[in-house]
């Protein structure tokens, strides 16, 4: 399961997608919308993707994960407007042993944050702005 969705993520379906009799461990990572960023109160987020490329990149990361860790991978990112506490990204990894599952899930979320063309726009008391990388920002066009 590799997907972008504008609906709330069905976390249980993401976990079920990596179940297999040979798996002894499943790691489920959920990225949630936090109510603050860089000292500012955040009310909501909006995610935008370059959708076809984002899906290609997610498929590629999942494929690399399968090869490196012998893992089963499910990978879903939400788009559109999200409120505080909603799940923005869900990554499930199943492997025969737990160490690989932790390592693989960590690699997937960190690599997603570098290589998958998805952007967030933060709505704060001071206005809305697009986030660029870790901590950069571009104010909304006037």
């Amino acid at each position: 399961m590799i997907a972008l969705t504008r609906e709330p993520i069905d976390v249980e379906a993401v976990r079920r997608a990596v179940e297999a009799p040979e798996h002894g461990g499943i790691v489920l990572f959920l990225g949630e919308v936090r109510n603050h960023a860089w000292g500012r109160a955040v009310h909501a987020l909006e995610y935008e993707a370059y959708e076809p490329m984002a899906l290609c990149q997610m498929e590629r990361l999942a494929q690399e994960a399968r090869e490196r860790w012998n893992a089963k991978v499910a990978f879903v990112h939400r788009l559109g407007r999200l409120e505080i506490g909603e799940v923005a990204v869900a990554i499930a990894v199943g492997t025969p042993h737990r160490a690989e599952a932790f390592e693989c899930a960590r690699w997937l979320i960190e690599t997603l944050k570098q290589e998958v063309p998805i952007w967030k726009r933060e709505f704060t008391e001071e206005g809305a702005y697009w986030v660029e990388g870790e901590g950069g920002q571009a104010d909304d066009a006037p």
Binding site: Y50, H77, Q114, W119, Y129, W130, A141
Partner: protein
Amino acid sequence: MQVTVRLFGAYAQEMGDRLQVEVAPSSTPRDLFTLLAGRFTRLAQLGSHCRVAINWEFAEWDTPLQEGDEVAFIPPVSGG
């Protein structure tokens, strides 16, 4: 020849998210960026922070473009 340019986030707010642009044969993404940065100040500010993709794959700035290519200027990503 004509190529499609894709833009995102604040840059799409300034310029629209999809442009058709006429460029000289064998132009590169660098040439295209220079052309557009002359017209759009916000894109000019993005400058070297940006990566380029051609037809949904990250690419080098000096790759010769082909007629009909989709060229995306990718600001630093912030998903997750």
